[in-house]
């Protein structure tokens, strides 16, 4: 390898890879005749679509099958690696494979053998990856070096050694060219044997994941408990990382380093947004990985000028962004909406309580279950009761009105509807029950309970409320709103 750094090689070879993946689908098409410097994207013709969708080309079938299996296995293993906090392990281990390849090449050349023997190079890559894994685990367990630094050390030092070894290898015979291709994605087309190898490895990895599912789950969530059940944490770690190595090595020779890292990380991160269940997450992660690979490989078959590895990663990234924003369980939008709804409820209840307390201080407290509207309340006098601005207060009133809780009238006045009276009374009830509880059972001073109760009143559920009632005033009429245990600060300042 030239000393220009690995990225250059990744770049060039990913481009070469792109052209090779796209080759099969368009082998017979006119794009082949275009100038080789023309790299503009051409929209596929209907014929190309048909060929892709019906999987007419043997090579397209092979590429799609291989990429999909790789995505599936990567997604499954990646979900465990992510939850174990080892998302970037694949990054380090894929770099750690490089010196193995270089050294095997050198050794075989010096011994006079066939230096490009596929099996030998693969064995070298696996050995040095495993060595890198051993070094990481050793540094983490036996020294004060933290895991992230151990990853960084193995990544950079092994890769440096690999670059040096390849630098030597390049001078030896002049035949070392193509080694980078082996590392960063094979330059020849993915042929049936490659796809079969990937499919076989993917299947093996998936089966192992299933067999070890319970153990890995324990390892990810409660290492201490796993140890107490008699599992060896170190062995399980080695097993999990061994699977990462297996997927990485197989993927490296087929699709390149960066794509491989993405296949391990991105689908797992995306799946995490959808569920809190481990099994489901692993399945989702595998499916997202497989689907991204399928769609990405298909797209690059249709748009031959785009690098397929990069397209697969971008498709997976889109899946990630969609998941992060839109997933109902942990997605950002869903969480923001839940928070918004809670805030709206809190503000509404604060408004109703303020109205209630004003009415109460004027001797006109609404009752629960009353059938007519409450007395008039001047909105301006609600303003000093909480720290809300005039605009905020007005918008809360408007929102409550749209829910039919109150009615505004001329002269900046409002009246609670029967529904509003019910909710206001219930809310004040909750508030005061909590205050009484704090005073009687938590020994909080009466002057301080208002604020504490403010926070909790919105989330009291009926069972807790029933418990509070039986505690606070045994047997008294449950639906009657108790009087406030502390003087009302603002009410009554008319």
């Amino acid at each position: 390898m030239s000393p220009a750094g690995r990225l250059a090689a990744v770049l060039l070879l990913a481009m070469i890879f792109a052209s090779r993946v796209s080759d099969p689908a368009v082998a017979a098409d006119e794009t082949r005749q275009a100038s080789i410097t023309d790299r503009s994207v051409q929209w596929p013709t209907a014929g190309q679509w048909r060929r892709l969708l019906l999987l007419e080309d043997y090579n397209t079938r092979v590429v799609l099958l291989g990429a999909t299996m790789l995505g599936f296995a990567g997604g499954a293993v990646g979900s465990f690696a992510l939850l174990r906090g080892r998302a970037l392990m694949g990054d380090a281990l894929s770099h750690a494979a490089v010196p193995g390849i270089g050294l095997v090449f050198l050794a075989v050349t010096m011994a006079g053998g066939d230096a490009k023997s596929f099996v030998l190079l693969l064995a070298g890559a696996t050995c040095s990856s495993l060595l890198g894994l051993a070094v990481i685990l050793f540094l983490r367990n036996a020294t004060r070096i933290k895991e992230d630094a151990a990853l960084g050390i193995v990544l950079s030092v092994f890769f440096g050694a690999g670059a040096a070894a390849l630098g030597i290898a390049q001078q030896t015979t002049g035949h070392a060219a193509g080694l980078e291709g082996f590392i960063y994605g094979k330059t020849a087309s993915m042929v049936a044997s490659d796809a079969l190898l990937i499919a076989g490895a993917g299947l093996t990895v998936t089966v192992l994941c299933l067999l070890l599912f319970k153990e890995f789950k324990l390892l990810c969530f409660d290492e201490g408990f796993a140890a107490s059940r008699g599992y060896s944490i170190l062995l399980l770690d080695i097993a999990l990382m061994g699977l990462v190595v297996a997927v990485t090595i197989v993927g490296l020779q087929a699709v390149g380093a960066i794509l491989m890292i993405a296949m391990l990380v991105v689908p797992a991160c995306a799946a995490r947004f959808w569920t809190e269940r481990m099994g489901l997450m692993t399945l989702l992660s595998a499916i997202i990985g497989a689907a991204s690979a399928l769609v990405g490989a298909g797209m690059s078959a249709l748009l031959p000028r785009l690098p397929s590895g990069a397209i697969i990663v971008l498709v997976a990234s889109v899946a990630f962004v969609v998941s992060m924003l839109g997933a109902p369980a942990r997605g950002i939008l869903a969480r923001a909406m839940r928070r918004r709804r809670l805030n709206a409820k809190v503000h509404r209840q604060h408004l109703l309580r303020a109205v209630y307390e004003w009415l109460e201080s004027h001797g006109q407290a609404p009752r629960r279950g009353q059938h007519d509207e409450s007395d008039q309340v001047p909105i301006a006098e609600l303003l000093p009761m909480r720290s809300w601005s005039q605009g905020e207060l007005r918008s809360y009133v408007a929102r409550a009105e749209s829910r039919g809780l109150l009615r505004t009238g001329p002269g900046n006045l409002l009246r609670l509807s029967p529904l509003g009276c019910e909710e206001a009374a219930a809310n004040v009830h909750n508030h005061r029950m909590w205050e009484l509880y704090l005073i009687h059972f938590a020994d909080v001073a009466a002057s301080r309970v208002d604020r504490d109760a403010d926070a909790i009143e919105h989330v009291l559920d009926p069972t807790i409320l029933a418990e509070l009632e039986s505690l606070v005033h045994e047997g008294a009429a449950a639906r009657v709103v108790p009087t406030s245990p502390h003087p009302m600060p603002h009410a009554g300042e008319t």
């Binding site: 998302a87 970037l88 630094a149 960084g152 440096g160 050694a161 040096a164 070894a165 991160c269 995490r272």
Partner: protein, 442 residues
């Protein structure tokens, strides 16, 4: 050494200078990355800046250095921002967030480069990732000197990093170790974080544009980890990491020239060998660091075990003298039966004691010297006082007295023996009826 006879200061000197500058500039910042457990950030940024370079290229349509540098630095900062944002708002594990961001950006960059490539001939290998070996070829005039452009750029980067680390030393230290405390002292941890990220991005881009990215990724972590093995003090660690970084740059270049000749080839990648040299120094630090080094710890444990064994020998000889004052020596076979340790360990203990003048040879065994007797007396006194104390004050059963006292006797100084004697009302005999010897007279 073979190969070094061709050393040319005008060429190799500048290469080493560029390597040292890059290594030290990276290692300075790396200290804070490693302490914040963000060691992989350098690697992530060096992949992620690709779309910035491509965008600058697409916009300007030329391979100008300055716009590309700006584009890359911007995207580098963006990487840190996006990672932080996904981590915080998406609640994704830090490593996962980093992995998602840098692979996605890298893929985006690849697609952009492919698009750019039909406008101008863009060879990413040459444009984006310089080679350190080419350092001396591209020079600028500084006064009357021709200085490689790389060296000038890296000197500026190093100066900036050094300035920031010195000026914001307290803030960086606090925010790295205890962000909460920093916040309570009115230091904006967030802005420190982004300042650091910006510098990391700038350093990474400037370095791998000139000397290759293997070097910068390695130097952010490896020399720092080596320094971390050696010290607990941040200031010492920063200085040590800079020294390690500089040393690995020098060693690396020499290694690149020398090592391949051992197996009959010409020189190899300097940047790669610099990373390997850093790894070598790190390995040495892991083994030999004064406090945390593994060999040192092992040695310390061995010496400690030797001391314990030697003291056990002294105590055995003392008891033998007690039993048979006429026949004070113990044969080596008798010692072997009672010590339950391997031959080598016993030999070492005897040799050590003889050198100290605590025991002397007598026929086929050893006997105490005057000095050895005093030490042994203290040990046995400690042992029996402990037995007495453990029985009377701690209420330990008789069966467990001996084994506990056997351990405690090695850590009992004169002051503690006096306290024990006071606590147990200075008994004459221990619970087994053996006499407690008096404090030895000097």
């Amino acid at each position: 050494m073979a190969g070094l006879e061709n050393w040319n200061w005008a060429l190799d000197g500048w290469i080493v200078a560029a390597g040292v500058l890059c290594a030290v500039a990276s290692a300075l910042l790396g200290n804070f990355l490693v302490l914040r457990k963000m060691s992989m950030l350098g690697d992530a940024i060096s992949h992620a800046v690709l779309p910035g370079l491509a965008a600058a290229f697409l916009i300007t349509g030329a391979r100008e250095s300055v716009p590309m540098f700006l584009g890359a630095a911007l995207v580098g900062v963006l990487t840190a921002l996006l990672t932080e944002w996904i981590r915080r708002y998406g609640r994704v594990d830090e490593g996962g967030a980093m992995g998602v961001v840098f692979t996605a950006l890298f893929a985006l960059g690849l697609v952009m480069i492919v698009q750019a490539a039909d406008q101008v001939d863009l060879d990413p290998g040459c444009v984006l990732y310089g080679a350190i070996e080419l350092t001396p070829l591209d020079t600028v005039e500084l006064g009357s000197f021709h200085v490689p452009r790389v060296v000038v750029v890296l000197s500026i980067v190093l100066a900036i990093n050094l300035l920031v680390v010195v000026l914001f030393y307290k803030e960086l230290k606090l925010t790295s170790f205890d962000p909460e405390l920093a916040k309570s002292l009115g230091i904006n941890a967030q802005s420190m974080h982004y300042l650091l990220m910006t510098l990391v991005a700038v350093t990474a881009v400037a370095s791998f544009e000139t000397v290759g990215n293997i070097l910068v990724v390695a130097m952010f972590v490896v020399p720092v980890a080596a320094a971390y093995m050696c010290t607990d003090r941040l200031a010492t660690m920063i200085v040590a990491s800079s020294l390690f970084a500089a040393a690995s740059a020098v060693l690396g270049h020499i290694g690149a020239i020398v090592v391949p000749r051992w197996i009959g080839y010409r020189s190899t990648t300097t940047a790669g060998m610099m990373a390997v040299a850093a790894g070598f120094l790190f390995g040495l630090a892991v083994l030999l660091a004064p406090r945390y080094g593994l060999l040192v710890k092992l040695l310390r444990r061995r010496l400690f075990a030797l001391r314990i064994l030697a003291e056990d020998v002294l105590a055995l000889l003392y008891r033998a003298e007690e039993r048979t004052p006429d026949e004070p020596a113990l044969a080596r076979s008798q010692l072997r039966q009672q010590l339950d340790r391997g031959l080598l360990a016993r030999r070492a203990a005897y040799a050590w004691l003889r050198r100290q003048g605590d025991i002397r040879r007598q026929r086929d065994g050893y006997a105490l010297t005057e000095q050895g007797r005093r030490r042994a007396q203290s040990l046995v006194r400690a042992h029996r006082l402990w037995e007495q104390y453990l029985e009377t004050a701690a209420g330990l059963g008789e069966r467990h007295l001996h084994e506990n006292a056997e351990q405690l006797e090695h850590f009992t100084n004169e002051e503690l023996r006096r306290r024990l004697a006071d606590e147990t009302a200075s008994p004459r005999t221990d619970p087994h009826g053996a006499p407690i010897p008096p404090e030895s007279q000097r």
